[in-house]
Subunit: 153 residues, 2 copies
């Protein structure tokens, strides 16, 4: 077993045994193989639906390295990242991810990972109501941002 995946699994076990969240753990490692952050799902402990293991370790790694850019880092996670986590990984510029269990495995025990993937692939579009309003009143936000050469991340 990969040593970093073993560590991600141990994080997941820690989280479950302390009732902190679902059975999910993750580890972020830099190019040299140094562990930058490790952690587990904290949804229940923190009352935070965004505190999946991957998001938790991304936040921790960024805090530690004092950057929002984790280019060059690799993420190990005990389960395939859900679309929220996968997008967070892309926003953080992590380019290499190893995962163990699948979205279907998570779905089988009741988590909605596969439902959200389906939604983003264009299926079950009635999952939520998503409506556009007032674009013409808000587009100047973007025009101003571009004009002032503000930071893009």
């Amino acid at each position: 077993m990969d040593k970093f995946m073993k560590m991600a699994k141990e994080c997941a076990q820690h989280g479950v045994s302390h009732n902190e969240g679902g059975p999910f753990g993750a580890v972020i490692v830099d190019k040299a193989g140094n562990i930058i952050a490790k952690g587990n799902n904290m949804v229940l402990a923190n009352n935070d639906p965004t505190a999946h293991a991957e998001v938790t370790v991304i936040r921790e790694a960024c805090k530690k390295l004092e950057t929002y850019d984790l280019s060059g880092c690799t993420l190990y996670t005990s389960c395939e990242p859900c679309p929220m986590c996968l997008s967070a990984i892309i926003w953080a510029n992590i380019k290499e991810v190893y995962y163990a269990c699948t979205r279907e495995d998570a779905g089988k025990i009741g988590f909605r990972d596969d439902i959200i993937y389906d939604y983003l692939e264009g299926k079950n579009k009635d999952l939520i109501k998503l409506e556009q309003i007032d674009r013409e009143k808000c587009i100047d936000l973007f025009e101003e941002y571009e004009k002032n050469n503000k930071i893009i991340y």
Copy 2:
């Protein structure tokens, strides 16, 4: 202009003028029309790539209501939620979302919302390396979780 969208826009403006992040703001309202949380993108201020406006207000609303479940709440956001935020909204059980600018508008000024949407729709699959390993060594995490009737959220 919708009054909650106006507020979301004002949050976006506040965030940009204080260099806290991109030009994005959001508001969460309960069924009675009470404002539960409002805020803006904090990626730059917090060195947190997950601190988009929607995620920021979801975290704040959950903290305020002491729950990871925002059923019955409505979210207003000055820009179409990226896949991370949309998934966070679904995990939080928010069923109604109003947005102003689009993913294409965000893309035009340099943000990667549309690239991530494309990725999740099966395009540009070389965006990141995503590889499965050690499933057989981790699947017992899920079997144990199910056996012990742990919480599903």
